[in-house]
Amino acid sequence: MFRRHGLSVFAVVIAAFILLPVIVIASYALQADGELWQHLFDTVLNEYLVNSLLLLLGVGAGVLVLGVPTAWLTSMCSFPGRRWLSWALLLPLAMPAYIIAYTYTGLLDFAGPVQTWIRDLTGLGYGDYWFFEIRSLGGAIVMMSLVLYPYVYLMARAAFLEQSVSSIEVGCSLGYSRWRAMWSLALPMARPAIIAGLSLALMETLADYGTVQYFGVSTFTTGIFRTFYGYGDTAAAAQLAASLLAFVMLLVLLERYSRRRARYHSAAESRARADLIPLMGSKAVLAVVLCLAPLMFGFIIPATQLLFWAVFEAEPLGWDFVNLAWNSFSLAFLAAIVAVTLAIILSYAKRTNPIKPVRTVIAMAGFGYALPGTIIAIGVLIPLAWADHSLIALFERFGWDSPGLFLSGSLVALLFAYTVRFLAVALGSVQSGLEKIKPSLDHAGRSMGHGPLAILRKIHVPLMRTSILTAVLIVFVDVLKELPATLILRPFNFNTMAVRAYELASDERLVDAAPASIMIVLVGLIPVLMLHASITRRRPH
């Protein structure tokens, strides 16, 4: 009993630490001066609100349309190319949103090759013909949907694959057609996974700054930066960020509501080889087209363009790229380990002792995912610098040499920020893995006299290895792509590939940014492919 509460207390303390930056930001918000808030309210706030909502709706619809049917087709049907499409569909996950935005702008902008070609061919001038304006709200929706749908695809596919074939077969034996079984059985059963993927994509959308800023779309996030940079007003920026949190709570509630009281333990102990629904003729062609489209637009076209720039037009990367790659890789790896370890502790504490305070604190610990990296960085910097100053004072009292900025000036600050930002991703995957393990196993373990940590180590961790690996890999890719927090918090002489790509791109040298960008994509591919392997292994072929 004591040990059980000990774990809960420990988890609450960890969660409180992770919430600290969010609390710092919220407390800043209370100091905001009303005059600036009034000004924002009178002029731009309405636009921020409307654009953010439209962006959320658009990306939400986009990722569902791209993610769910492809997940269904690749896990339940057989058609030519299914095997490689099922992993290739994950590739856009390695493409940062800001980089795909730069790339498509280079291609589709008025001055880009596509429109220039159209003009040369037809002799028309600007305004004589209609062409999709990439730098717009619509453009931002398309760009983000293209790189964020893999979250939905990944979760939905994992859920479809894990569904015991027997439940579908039972459906069929009850007279359902295959398609009817999908609508009435498979989809509802996969709903928590789909919504989990959706809410990840939407939180990422809310936190995005690079894409909307580049496209000139005013959203809450650009508003935060404008207030912070333009007005130099941290308090008012924090206040806007706090309002962003209201959106997040809405998302969290949505997810809760969709789960309600349902339980989603899988009953299947032994799984039969799934009989895939064979698709023939036009149906097969349609399936291939449906799966190929997101892959083409989300990966192949932009990656080819980047590769072209990198090879033929950009200044080549110097030898320091090895250094950049190592920095990016090691940082992402460490951050993934830290975040997932914490996620396991938190999820398990919630499982063993699901009382309200524990559940609430843990749910809140994931909020950082929707906050822009810069805001989190400031929230991290303030308490760490305070701790550093206390430490320095302590050292001075004993007459020792000052340790300097031991926490805020080192990688500790970065790792802390990444954990705050990406814990939600790790929590999502780990929790869903844990939920699938039936409580009776816990009872069995306890009846054998094991404590909660022993049960976690001996029973749960091995059973949810796939979920843990998934969490590690997603956090890895996310950290690899992360920019704003890295930019602010990194130590001296420490650069990553994302920093390099950003510096060149923000100096308006998009083409020269291509080599670093393509490197991010390539390094990101490794975990993405591992991710695929780990999911597929779940169902024997």
């Binding site: 731009v44 304006e133 320095i392 080192s410 602010i488 420490f494 308006e508």
Partner: protein
């Protein structure tokens, strides 16, 4: 599986070791720099400085306001000795935030004109950037152009491209205009320009140049070094863009505020209040204002030098001479907040 864990352990310990190595050295012959100038546009100079003096330079680059925030939060424990940033408004903000200290450097006071440095020695300008009007040679007659204010007139309806008001260069342009013609007239001017826009603001300065060249609009306002970069580019597409454009220096003649001169800005640097290596920082700052470093800026990034007698690039020479607005650059910082508010009200996105 066992191999996996050994590899994992190896990576983990290697990474952990690297964390320990990347702590900031505080002693020795070094100088620590926080720079809002991009690495590519400062590192070669720093390397050169290290080669000459033997002083090692540690560098963090980032956005000006984020670095400023970091300096503020770090307070007396900050490792930074020198804060380098673009835009005078940011330099002023750093001074106001109390993270810089005044230093009197006779060498720089002699070589850098008074208007281009802080009167108390909190910061020194290192390069000059001009922000004139750029127009499409084939669609705009030079007689149509006169000054910034005239871009609000009806003849420019649907013919202007502007970068977003998020860009600090535009904020400083507006801050200077407020000083010249007052807040009300500035807002009217911006409303007129926003009405005349060919498309909503998006992208960077280079994007505006490309839009003018491609015929989306006829005029824009950008920093000259972006145009100079296109002129010097080895890519035919960039050269094609540049060949269609020309610089017009606005507000060169006329009475009072109208003839004040074209808007310009500086990049510059100041000593941090709690820097631990003041001598090294001074050596670095003096190097950055020396003739070879100034020539490098002019050559590599096509910025105008702040010291006299330094050769400028061919592209800059081609833009001709111009009269600069003699505004005290501190005003750009003082007016910044009001500028952003007016831009919000005028609907300049």
């Amino acid at each position: 599986m066992r191999h996996m864990t050994i590899i994992n352990k190896f990576i983990l310990s290697a990474v952990a070791a690297s964390v320990l190595f990347i702590t900031t050295a505080q002693a020795g012959d070094i100088v620590n720099v926080y720079s809002a100038r991009k690495e590519a546009l400062i590192k070669p100079l720093l390397d050169e400085f290290s080669a000459i003096t033997g002083i090692k330079v540690n560098l963090i680059t980032g956005k000006a306001d984020a670095l400023l925030k970091r300096l503020q939060v770090e307070g007396s424990a900050t490792p930074a000795d020198l804060f380098i940033t673009v835009d005078a408004g940011r330099l002023h903000r750093a001074k106001e935030a109390g993270v810089l200290k005044p230093v009197s450097l006779p060498v720089l006071e002699n070589s850098i004109p008074q208007a281009l440095r802080d009167s108390d020695g909190y910061w020194y300008g290192l390069t000059l950037r001009a922000r004139p009007i750029i127009y499409a040679k084939d669609r705009v007659s030079i007689n149509e152009l006169s000054n910034y204010e005239a871009l609000a007139e009806a003849q420019w309806d649907g013919r202007i491209c502007l970068r977003s008001s998020q860009a600090v260069y535009n904020q400083s342009l507006v801050a200077a205009t407020i000083d010249a013609i007052g807040a009300e007239a500035t807002q009217d001017w911006m409303e007129g320009m926003v009405d005349n826009l060919a498309k909503p603001p998006s992208g960077g300065d280079t994007d505006q140049l490309k839009a003018v060249a491609a015929g989306v609009c006829d005029v824009t306002i950008v920093n000259t070094y972006y145009l100079a970069r296109l002129i010097n580019s080895s890519k035919p597409a960039d050269q094609a863009v540049a060949s269609k454009l020309a610089v017009f220096w606005p507000n060169q003649q006329g009475p009072g505020a109208i003839g004040r001169g074209a808007h310009f800005n500086v990049s510059g640097a100041g000593f941090t209040k709690y820097g631990k290596h003041p001598e090294q920082a001074q050596a670095l700052l003096e190097y950055l204002a020396s003739a070879p470093a100034q020539a490098w800026y002019a050559k590599i990034n096509n910025e105008y030098p702040v010291v006299a007698g330094v050769e400028i690039s061919q592209a800059l020479k081609g833009f001709g001479d111009y009269k600069m607005d003699p505004i005290d650059l501190e005003i750009l910082g003082q007016n910044n907040r009001q500028a952003v508010q007016l831009m919000d009200r005028a609907g300049w996105k």
